[in-house]
């Protein structure tokens, strides 16, 4: 966050909501708990919790109190309750997420001096309620559902959850269920899209009532330079906080340091555990020919192994390029495959190979682009809802860390860490949603989500997946508070949508509020089904078309509400690939006053060219010539 909020144009203090209003916003975070002693959660200047707050501070080990910043803490461990259980964060993930949403500004934040700046949340005056649902064994469905149930009653305004798993029908997915009940009570849930990218069909958290967030880069690159004894300089990626003490170190490879004899288990060239002799590694920089995934991650990877053999550093060849900077326990750099081959050639070409690894530096780079790991659509549960919805910074984010973390990748305790994942993107979007809510407290969850989606910055990308990777684009919180128009969705529209999706009337009836008698009265046939290809007033337009034939023709029906000031007139503009027609009817919409609603229809037809590789990407944008651009992506996907 020492760069991410500035990168989003959300400059400190400049666009702040008045503290008094923002401090009335309570964000519920379902995660690994919180390290309350982090400077990011200092409550200096905060008054008592808002009157609407009905939650609790359940104290325990290492969390003996809440404060006026972290006003609530609960934990759920229903399967294996333990007397030692506490909402304190022994992992670091929850602390990282929470400080990204609502941490107060902490200047001079860095990790080993790297990525130095002011760490801060998007809504630094907002309050935090933490719900610990993740433990060493994972995040259990029943714990998450319990947390949703209580968070809603506690009076949170927003929920952020950077957790996911297998995609299941909505009534079997605790996040879909919990967020549905949150939505019914005016609370928007923001979820991470998952890290199983870049393959298609990898996105998780698919319900239309949640905001699903992909991860993108910011314009800050981590570079770890390696200089070889022959004077060649190469660059890798890592978070290496070590300054070299010598000009050069002896260089060897895992292969040359091998003490493996025929028949032994393990691959020395990959620096696998037990394959190298300490006498051959001690004091040397070791080159390993394998990606970090194969060695089990950085905390138990080659850096860990070489460190245990008293090596001076590690250079790891990656099988595939990465955009993720990982902290190393000893001087270390991860290099591209070709770079690794050159280093290997150098080692084999001289009797006395040498190298030195310099401390990581940050440089500028083109951004945003979607992170390689960020999960991609389309989805299989509601095939005509585009997921992910939106994108936010989630690559190499520096934010608060827990000093209680039991598995630390760092050589020393630290107050901040650098992490990557859609987990890190989700809190950026959650904070943006909270920011919009602070301006428009009466807006529905769907309206807030619409404001963020229609004002997002579309990404220029060469990736064929286009909107399947970033949805509507990168969040733009400043623009989102004045979206001009919103696509709203009521609870009853979601229920009609579920009818259209094939869920049965009896089950849908049980989702309604009221007594047990009235709950059962819902009948899908009595309710008007949503029209068009998707049947929902969604801010993006998406359809998975049949795999046969190349001609496509889809119709989307939409309703927008004016949320600007006074009368306004919007004109439709469309973008589509050559040979594809996008017709908007009407092309002009005039609003006499705020709150007025207008309907329109979008028809897209054309030929799915072979070059499109099954992805037809277009958009419609409503422009009032007074600064409001209300943009919806259109994406047709043809499997196979």
């Amino acid at each position: 966050t020492t760069r991410s909020w500035d990168f989003l144009g959300f400059v400190e203090s400049k666009y702040r909501r008045s503290e008094a209003i923002e401090s009335n916003i309570i964000v519920g975070v379902l995660d690994t708990g919180i390290y309350i002693d982090s400077p990011s959660f200092d409550d200096k200047g905060f008054g008592p919790p808002p009157a609407k707050w009905k939650g609790k501070c359940v104290t325990g080990n290492n969390l003996t109190r809440c404060n006026n910043k972290v006003i609530g803490a609960r934990y759920y461990h229903l399967k294996r309750p333990n007397y030692n259980d506490t909402a304190a964060d022994y992992d670091g993930h929850g602390t990282h997420i929470t400080s990204t949403i609502a941490g107060v500004a902490v200047s001079n934040a860095n990790l080993f001096g790297i990525a130095n700046g002011t760490a801060r949340g998007g809504v630094p005056s907002a309050r935090i309620a933490t719900y610990k649902v993740c433990w060493e064994e994972g995040c259990s469905d029943m714990d998450m559902l319990a947390a949703f149930d209580e968070a809603i009653s506690d009076g949170v305004d927003m929920i952020s959850i950077s957790i996911g798993g297998a995609s299941l029908p909505f009534f079997e997915d605790p996040i879909a269920i919990g967020s549905f009940h949150a939505m019914k009570r005016g609370i928007l849930t923001t979820c991470s899209a998952g890290n199983n990218g870049p393959g298609l069909y990898t996105v998780s958290n698919l319900a239309p009532w949640v905001m699903t967030v992909a991860a993108n880069s910011v314009d800050r690159k981590f570079e770890t330079v390696v200089k070889l004894g022959n004077g060649d300089t190469t660059t890798g990626i890592s978070v290496n906080g070590f300054n070299p003490k010598k000009k050069m170190y002896p260089l060897t490879s895992g292969f040359l340091a091998s003490n493996v004899t025929a028949g032994d288990y393990g691959e020395p060239s990959a620096c696998e555990p037990g394959t190298m002799g300490e006498d051959k590694v001690m004091g040397k920089v070791v080159y390993c020919e394998v990606g970090r995934e194969e060695a089990g991650g950085s905390s138990e990877g080659q850096d860990h192994i070489i460190r245990s053999l008293k090596g001076a550093g590690v250079i790891v060849q990656l099988l595939e390029p990465t955009d993720m900077a990982t902290s190393t326990l000893i001087p270390g750099s991860y290099v591209l495959y070709e770079v690794g081959t050159k280093i290997s050639d150098y080692i084999n070409s001289t009797k006395n190979p040498q190298a030195v690894i310099f401390k990581t530096r940050t440089t500028k780079m083109l951004a945003p682009s979607i992170a390689s790991f960020s999960a991609r659509g389309p989805q299989r549960i509601s095939p005509n809802i585009l997921k992910p919805d939106i994108s936010a910074p989630g690559l190499n984010i520096l934010a608060a860390y827990s000093k209680l973390a039991t598995v630390t990748v760092y050589a020393e305790d630290t107050l901040f860490s650098i992490m990557s994942g859609t987990s890190m993107a989700c809190p950026h979007a959650a904070a943006a949603a909270a920011y919009v809510k602070s301006f428009h407290p009466d807006w529905s969850p769907a309206a807030i989500k619409s404001a963020l989606m229609t004002t997002a910055t579309p990404m220029r990308t060469k990736d064929i997946e286009a909107e399947l990777s970033y949805g509507s684009g990168q969040i733009n919180p400043r623009r989102a508070i004045h979206p001009g128009l919103v696509y709203d969705i009521t609870e009853s529209s979601y229920l009609s949508f579920l009818c259209k999706e094939g869920y049965n009337s009896t089950s849908i009836g049980l989702l309604l509020g009221g007594s047990n008698e009235t709950k059962k009265e819902y009948r899908c046939v009595d309710h008007k089904q949503g029209l068009g290809s998707d049947g929902l007033n969604y801010p993006s337009m998406h359809k998975q078309v049949g795999s046969k034939g190349t001609n496509v023709s889809e119709t989307f029906y939409r309703t927008v509400r004016s949320v600007g000031y006074g009368p306004s007139t919007y004109v439709a503009r469309v973008w589509a690939p050559k040979g594809v027609r996008v017709e908007v009817e009407p092309r002009v919409m005039s609003f006499v006053k705020p709150g007025e609603e207008k309907h329109f229809k979008v028809v897209i037809d054309g030929v799915m060219e072979e070059a499109m590789r099954g992805i037809l990407s277009a958009s419609v944008e409503w422009d009032d010539s007074r600064g409001h651009l209300v943009r919806s992506p259109i994406l047709l996907f043809q499997a196979g």
């Binding site: 009653s153 996911g164 987990s423 089950s507 049980l510 989702l511 309604l512 009221g514 059962k520």
Partner: protein, 88 residues
């Protein structure tokens, strides 16, 4: 003990909880479970947690046939196995 070991935690989701429902939620869940299992004390033993503030439902250690029977109950939306999810 053998039977208990065969039981696995399932979430029985019953839709929306009416206001102030949580006061009676446990009892309602117990009654439903007792009806299906046919044994009141066993029902008490296997029920792990009751939701009821906003979400109607409960968690219980169930056998496959009990899962099937509960799924058929009119007031039940779904019965699904408790799984572990991951941080992203």
């Amino acid at each position: 003990q053998d039977e208990f070991d065969k039981r696995e935690p399932y979430i029985v989701y019953m839709g929306d909880a009416a206001e102030k429902y949580h006061v009676e939620a446990s009892e309602n869940h117990h009654n439903l479970l007792s009806k299906v299992i046919g044994d009141e004390s066993k029902a008490r033993e296997v029920r792990m947690y009751s939701y009821g503030k906003n979400i109607d439902g409960f968690v219980a250690r169930l056998l496959p046939n009990e899962v099937e029977m509960l799924s058929r109950e009119e007031e039940v939306v779904s019965v699904f196995k408790n799984t572990q999810r991951q941080l992203h």
